[in-house]
């Protein structure tokens, strides 16, 4: 065993805990606007991910306690729980958490070796398999009818565990990106005034903008602590904002959405700071990470503007993950003083 007398900076367990801490502002905003269902989804997905991780570790003959202790499975579960609609039926979170661990993570070698981001791969699987359930988001708190209270633990639990009883289904509402997508004839300004979501919002849609700002806050904290590389989110958000500005078309009815809508709706900030920055599935070099961010930004905008889904963060990140080995090959930094060599294959 080696001695490291100078001491170590931080441990990987601390890293995971720091990321979980940084998620709190966004989670709090989600809770406030969309009810206690958020918490239940996070707990369900987290428990499913932890349980599946334990099973996978046991099957692979690895130490279970140490494996669960690194916090990575919990983080995956929490990210999936955040991405799911707060009132989605329980088996979505449970099957998603299990899928993330048993199909996406461990068959590829477990921690540090998975090709795809487990939370996003699980979300994409659910979205493709159950598009209807995944698009059913409740109305944010300010838009609930007078007689509808904030969905507490009891009401949310009822909707999640007994999905047959449709007591809260009545207040389900299109997400901002889906609502904007359905706009065919109004100018952006007219649509913003007409749609209740945008009419009540400051920058974009009410509730969603706050949630995104919450994740932005946590993300900035992580970037300042150097836990994540700032290049990926900055590149992604810049690219997305720039493309949205270019295709905004001056706010005509053909607009793909103004930059504010794209930056502060859907899973943009969560994706930028917590999903795309997952180091395991991200390129290794600084330039590679910049490239990954740009790629995700382009893909998110393309899927939202011209694709078949209102939001595209999960698919964009998965496609980027797929490109990482190639990006890694092409972006090996040049050590100082050395000369770039012509494609020599022999060592």
């Amino acid at each position: 065993m080696d001695g490291f007398p100078a001491g170590r900076a931080r441990h990987s367990v601390q890293v995971m805990h720091q990321v979980l801490l940084a998620l709190l502002p966004g989670i709090a905003a989600l809770l406030w606007y969309f009810g206690a269902g958020v918490l239940i989804q996070i707990l369900l997905a987290g428990a499913a991910a932890l349980g599946s991780e334990a099973l996978a570790l046991r099957l692979r003959g690895l130490p279970v306690r140490a494996g669960l202790g690194d916090g990575s499975a919990l983080l995956t579960g929490v990210l999936l729980g955040i991405a799911l609609p707060p009132l989605a039926p329980w088996w979505l979170a449970v099957s998603g958490g299990a899928f993330a661990m048993l199909v996406v993570k461990h068959p590829f070698g477990g921690l540090g070796n998975n090709l795809f981001n487990p939370a996003m791969a699980a979300y994409a699987m659910l979205l493709v398999s159950f598009p209807d359930a995944l698009s059913r988001w409740p109305a944010p708190l300010p838009l609930l009818p007078e007689d509808q209270p904030w969905p507490g633990l009891l009401a949310a639990g009822h909707a999640i565990f007994l999905p047959g009883a449709a007591a809260i289904d009545a207040v389900a509402m299109a997400t901002p990106l889906a609502a904007f997508r359905d706009n065919r004839s109004l100018l952006v300004a007219q649509f913003y005034a007409a749609d209740p979501l945008f009419a009540a919002g400051t920058f974009a849609a009410v509730g969603w903008e706050t949630v995104n700002l919450g994740f932005l806050l946590g993300g900035i904290y992580l970037a300042v602590c150097r836990t994540i590389d700032w290049r990926t989110p900055v590149a992604m958000l810049t690219t997305l904002g720039l493309l949205a500005w270019l295709w905004n078309d001056g706010g005509s009815s053909a607009s793909a959405g103004p930059p504010g809508l794209h930056l502060l709706s859907g899973a943009t900030m969560l994706g930028a700071f917590f999903i795309a920055t997952d180091p395991t599935t991200l390129a290794a070099s600084s330039s590679g990470r910049l490239l990954c961010g740009i790629l995700v930004g382009i893909l998110i905008f393309a899927i939202r503007a011209w694709g078949g889904y209102p939001d595209g963060v999960a698919f964009a990140v998965l496609l980027m993950n797929l490109a990482v080995p190639l990006i890694d090959r092409g972006t090996i930094p040049q050590p100082p003083g050395t000369v770039r060599q012509q494609r020599s294959r022999s060592p």
């Binding site: 065993m1 007398p5 900076a9 990987s12 890293v15 090996i332 100082p336 050395t338 060592p347």
Partner: protein, 549 residues
């Protein structure tokens, strides 16, 4: 030229330096045995003979080895010379008098030319004392040097040997810098780089410099800014790759301890016999710097400082970042030993390594822009091609990545063995290429000879038979002559060897053991047999040749 750049990456580990520079440099009692690595040299004095302090006892293609104190040469044995290497060592038993053969005298520097000065530096056994161990005379012999960089950085955790030296002997260091510049003879610009975490040393250096035309650059303390090439880049803006030497770019970089040794050698006539070693660590009762005679076993150094085996979890040879665990405490202090660390169990923190999560912090701190996480991955896969593509050979082994790795992976150790594997692969490939080339050349030679025989036969038949026979006889005679030559050489070499061994036996004085005498006599007997055999072969070769005529 003076473009000052920031160090790329790097870390700021706790320095742990204060304890060992609190007091003055201490002297060590003479050990009972000195172990002097022989290197590529041969012994100048026979085992058993008495040598005076400062007397050369071995020389050859390496740097000369001097007796660090007066005493008797005991033997040559294979001993540990480093944390992970063994080699032949001269064992010197001090007589306790510490008596010079002849008292050291300053050299008449002004009257000596460059070649004489360089030979004096070599003869004094001076090599880089910062850890590199590169012969200083070789560096100073380089032509057209425009910049002399003096390294006073000492960025390694725990190590304060240079700091202590500057505090106590800054004037000698400055004199040494002047000598180095004088020997370079190209009036180079002189720049000293020193970190800002040793104000006392800096003040002493400033004081000693006075109005000298030497630049002093204070740099923020950041590990590993003191690595030779990184310091050169920081001070001159010139980036030198790992596979090229700074002298090829007109730069010589010398450590402060090295220029101090230069001044002792030329200004006082003392060869390099001792160096300053920092003894520190949490399990060290009295952290301090010691003036240690070269060849002192680490065990004696530990004994002098009150070493307690129970408290000490590990002994490291080297500083906190790059030091390596020392298995054999009889390993001697050499020119490149700047620190010995006694670590307590708490300091060791034996964290079991976890899986790499590719967080990339290692790439952020790597001073030469490598991607340690990718190197780690490819090293695990033993993919030497990918390792070469990721510039494994540029790794300095500084340990900055080890320091920040949240999964506690021993990265540099892994890279060192991967580097060895890569070097081995390249060497194997080169040898295979050379063997193939030789084989092809041999085949071509055979084909050519066969073709020549054919043509000669074709020409011979139409010509007169008499002349053909004569030509054949002449060719045979020439062939016999050619075959005689190697035989004569062998015989001459055997005779030479026999003579040398007999001389050795004659020189063997009374102090030699019976075993030594017997061994030498056995070798003489064997040499005589070889010699007779060679003579016989030579004689029979001549008779064969004679029979053909």
């Amino acid at each position: 030229m003076s473009a000052r750049r920031r160090l790329r990456g790097g870390v700021q580990p706790p320095s742990h330096k204060a304890a060992s520079v609190a007091g003055p440099i201490r002297d060590l009692p003479l050990p009972s045995l000195l172990i002097l690595p022989l290197g590529d040299n041969h012994l100048l004095r026979a085992p058993g003979s008495w040598v005076g302090k400062g007397e050369p006892i071995a020389d050859g293609s390496g740097l000369p080895v001097h007796a660090s104190t007066s005493g008797f040469i005991r033997d040559i044995e294979t001993r540990a010379i480093d944390a992970d290497r063994h080699g032949p060592c001269v064992l010197l038993e001090p007589d306790g008098d510490d008596r010079w053969r002849e008292p050291p005298r300053p050299l008449p520097i002004a009257t000596l030319d460059r070649a004489q000065l360089l030979e004096a530096v070599r003869a004094a056994g001076i090599a880089g004392l910062g850890g590199g161990g590169f012969p200083t005379a070789t560096k100073l012999a380089a032509p057209a040097i425009h910049t002399l960089v003096i390294n006073a950085m000492e960025c390694e955790a725990y190590v304060t040997a240079d700091d202590a030296l500057l505090r106590e002997a800054a004037a000698e260091v400055v004199a040494g810098i002047g000598l180095a510049a004088h020997i370079l003879a190209s009036a180079p610009r002189v720049v000293i780089g020193i970190e800002d975490d040793k104000p006392e040393a800096l003040a002493a250096l400033r004081n000693a410099l006075g109005g000298d035309d030497i630049e002093l650059t204070v740099l923020p303390a950041r590990y590993p800014a003191g690595a030779e090439r990184l310091l050169i880049a920081l001070l001159t803006g010139l980036e030198i790759p790992r596979d090229e030497l700074p002298v090829a770019h007109g730069i010589v970089c010398l450590n402060v301890a090295t220029v101090h040794a230069l001044q002792r050698a030329l200004g006082h006539g003392e060869p390099l016999l001792e160096r300053i070693v920092t003894l520190s660590g949490g399990a060290c009762r009295e952290p301090a710097n010691y003036r240690v005679p070269l060849g002192t076993p680490v065990a004696d150094l530990l004994a002098a400082s009150g070493y307690e085996r129970e408290r000490c979890a590990s002994v490291l040879l080297g500083g906190g970042m790059m030091g390596r665990p020392l298995a054999d405490l009889q390993t001697p202090v050499t020119r490149s030993t700047h620190c010995v660390l006694l670590l307590s169990a708490e300091e060791m923190r034996p964290t079991p390594p976890r899986t790499c999560i590719r967080c990339g912090w290692c790439a952020d701190v790597c001073p030469v822009a490598l991607l340690p996480q990718q190197l780690h991955r490819h090293a695990l896969a033993e993919d030497l091609g990918a390792l070469a593509r990721h510039h494994l050979d540029q790794c300095l082994g500084c340990g900055a990545c080890d320091h920040v790795c949240p999964s506690a992976i021993p990265l540099t150790r892994q890279f060192a063995s991967a580097q060895a594997a890569l070097a081995q692969l390249r060497a194997d490939r080169q040898r295979a290429d050379r063997d193939r080339d030789r084989f092809l050349a041999h085949q071509q030679r055979l084909a050519r000879a066969a073709a020549e025989r054919e043509t000669r036969r074709g020409e011979a038949h139409p010509a007169t038979p008499g002349s053909d026979l004569a030509a054949l006889a002449m060719a045979r005679a020439a062939g016999a002559g050619a075959s005689r030559e190697p035989l004569e050489r062998t015989a001459a070499a055997a005779a030479d060897r026999l003579r040398r061994l007999e001389n050795q036996l004659a020189e063997l004085d009374a102090g030699a053991s019976a075993a030594q005498r017997n061994a030498l006599q056995a070798r003489i007997a064997q040499a005589r047999i070889d010699h007779d055999a060679a003579l016989r072969r030579l004689a029979s070769g001549s008779t064969d040749a004679g029979a053909t005529h």
